[in-house]
């Protein structure tokens, strides 16, 4: 039978210098942090990061110098509105950016998913989004009577998409059990290849697909590999399995205060195995008891 199981390091082994990597999730929700940490401690360089709805994924790869260009709509830790490592790197001019509207971003993913070179939109008109050096936006005119002119949002096509989900079987049949799946489905469809970390790999029967059909993120033909990575989204959330870890996020935020603070964070939480990481954050027990945050 089809067996797509890999390790986190196997997945990172599929990446190479200069690639365009798309990251799923949203700010502090379902970020594939086990993969981000593994990239952060790898020798990979010159990545173009597509992280429209960015958080620590952007910050951690910015702080470890992995990013050549960033395509994004925001970087935020939500309860901590500004992403401090992103901020430091941006203010140092450390990488190129293409800044997009949140809706343009998934509209570009949709173009990619549909194998179209562009999709028309009004979004961006009248703003500096379409005046950036990061991309030469073109326009397209309605051929019908209205004759309206639109921004031609180019397809966003990552070489590889990395996402975190809750369950998978060996074949890559995925369940994303969050209330809000965000745009992970479009990201996967847009990408050349897609890899998912999941909280748990189970049998196909245990997916209970008949009950969970609306949580089946995407068909397995779109998933090239799955790695079991329990707590793999930490310190972002993988609700309902666990909530975000505000205390850890605070520690992370504070690590941006100085090179020394960052070195300490990195030594303790990035340059370690995932097993040691889990010990450092208090173990599964502690993470599963994190309280539901208030918005």
């Amino acid at each position: 039978m089809l067996d797509k199981r890999m390790t986190v390091d196997d997945i990172v082994g599929q990446l190479s210098d200069g690639m365009t990597i798309g990251i799923g999730g949203w700010a502090t929700r379902r970020k594939p942090m086990a993969l981000i940490r593994a990239i952060a401690r790898s020798n990979l360089k010159d990545l173009t990061l597509m992280a429209g709805y960015g958080g620590m994924d952007i910050g951690m790869l910015a702080a470890t110098g992995k990013i050549r260009k960033l395509v994004f709509a925001f970087a935020s830790l939500d309860h901590f509105p500004l992403e401090p490592h992103f901020r430091n790197a941006r203010q140092a001019g450390a990488f190129e950016v293409l800044e997009l509207d949140e809706g343009m971003y998934h509209w570009g993913l949709r173009a990619g998913a549909m194998k179209l070179p562009f999709l028309p939109t009004r979004v961006g008109i009248g703003t500096d989004i379409i005046n950036q050096s990061g991309f030469d936006f073109k326009f397209v005119k309605s051929p019908y009577e209205d004759g309206e002119e639109f921004v031609a949002m180019p397809a966003l096509v990552p070489d590889v998409a990395l996402i975190h989900a809750h369950r998978s079987d060996e074949r890559g049949n995925l369940l994303n059990l969050s209330v809000d799946p965000i745009f992970d489905e479009l990201l996967v469809r847009a990408a050349g290849k897609s890899y998912a970390t999941v909280e748990k790999i189970v049998t196909t029967a245990e997916l209970d697909m008949k009950k969970n059909s609306r949580y089946n993120l995407v068909e397995r033909t779109m998933i090239n590999g799955v790695a079991e990575a329990p707590l793999g989204a930490h310190p972002s959330s993988a609700a309902p399995d666990y909530q975000l870890d505000l205390k850890h996020i605070k520690t992370y935020v504070e690590s941006a205060a100085s090179p020394e603070a960052w070195a300490e964070y990195k030594a303790k939480f990035i340059d370690v195995s995932e097993a040691d990481y889990q010990t450092a954050i208090g173990g599964e027990e502690a993470v599963k008891q994190l309280p539901v945050p208030i918005y």
């Binding site: 994004f72 203010q91 001019g93 800044e99 509207d101 809706g103 009248g126 703003t127 745009f183």
Partner: protein, 265 residues
């Protein structure tokens, strides 16, 4: 309860609520405690049809204020990320947001201060501002009305489109562009001056037009020679505000939680 026993925060909340009057059945998004409580106030009084959320992903039957909750609200629908865009692109939304900078055209910025390539201060990024601005009505809240917020030239990075003809290939913004009101710690403004010039439509009690103009980087219009005073929240409104915000988060927005009528100070 005397006439003056309301805080500046409560005055602002009542002024925020007004932006959703006669909007019909739309998604009402208030970013930050005062706009959010304002949306709740509108819903509990004159605009019962508007849809508000719990600040995360649910539409709720009753408004949900900021901070801790005593019980789980009744969810009436899902407002997941995809659906927020569907709603906003349809035009059936009115958002009241808090940018860092705004200019005479209503162009607003939350991305960077300084050069976009190497900013002096990197902030959030454009978020959904570009799409919001040309899709549905938008209003603004500024807790500190000053020239760093109301800038002299254009904002450093235009995230929200405004009434700046030079920004449009045909000189005209898309028909979805509809900037409504600006509520600050000093006054309420709209875009009703000549050529959408920003004009003061009410001054908070004790504030003069000169004070507002002195703290604004561009010339303001007036709704009339005698600018009305921003209406004080009614006793009924103050009760509803207290109901929506039992944690009294509103008291933490302005330093020392000043009174709404500064003539009384």
């Amino acid at each position: 309860m005397t006439q003056n026993s309301y805080s500046l925060a409560e005055l602002v909340i009542a002024a925020c609520a007004e932006v959703w009057r006669d909007n019909g059945e739309v998604m009402a998004t208030g970013i930050g405690p005062l706009p959010r409580i304002g949306a709740g106030l509108a819903k509990l009084s004159f605009s019962p049809a508007i849809q508000t959320t719990d600040g995360e992903v649910w539409y709720t039957s009753e408004p949900v204020g900021p901070g801790k909750r005593n019980s789980e609200p009744e969810y009436e629908g899902i407002a997941n990320y995809d659906r927020v865009f569907s709603a906003l692109w349809s035009g059936r939304r009115h958002a009241l947001v808090g940018p860092v900078q705004i200019d005479r055209f209503g162009q607003a910025n939350i991305s960077v201060i300084g050069d976009h390539k190497k900013p002096k201060a990197a902030m959030l990024g454009a978020r959904g501002f570009p799409g919001n601005s040309i899709s549905h009505p938008n209003s603004f809240f500024f807790p500190n009305h000053n020239k760093r917020a109301f800038v002299e030239g254009e904002v450093d990075f235009v995230c929200m489109a405004g009434y700046n003809p030079a920004r449009y290939r045909n000189g005209q913004p898309p028909k979805g562009l509809d900037l409504r009101r600006i509520i600050t710690n000093l006054c309420v403004m709209d875009f009703g001056g000549p050529d959408h010039q920003i004009r003061v439509i009410s001054l908070h009690p004790g504030v003069t037009f000169e004070e507002v103009q002195d703290n604004t980087g561009f010339p303001l219009a007036k709704i009339a020679d005698e600018i009305p005073v921003t209406p004080a929240p009614t006793a009924e409104q103050l009760e509803l505000i207290a109901k929506i915000d039992p944690n009294n988060v509103r008291a933490t927005v302005f330093k020392d939680n000043p009174a709404g009528d500064r003539r009384a100070a």
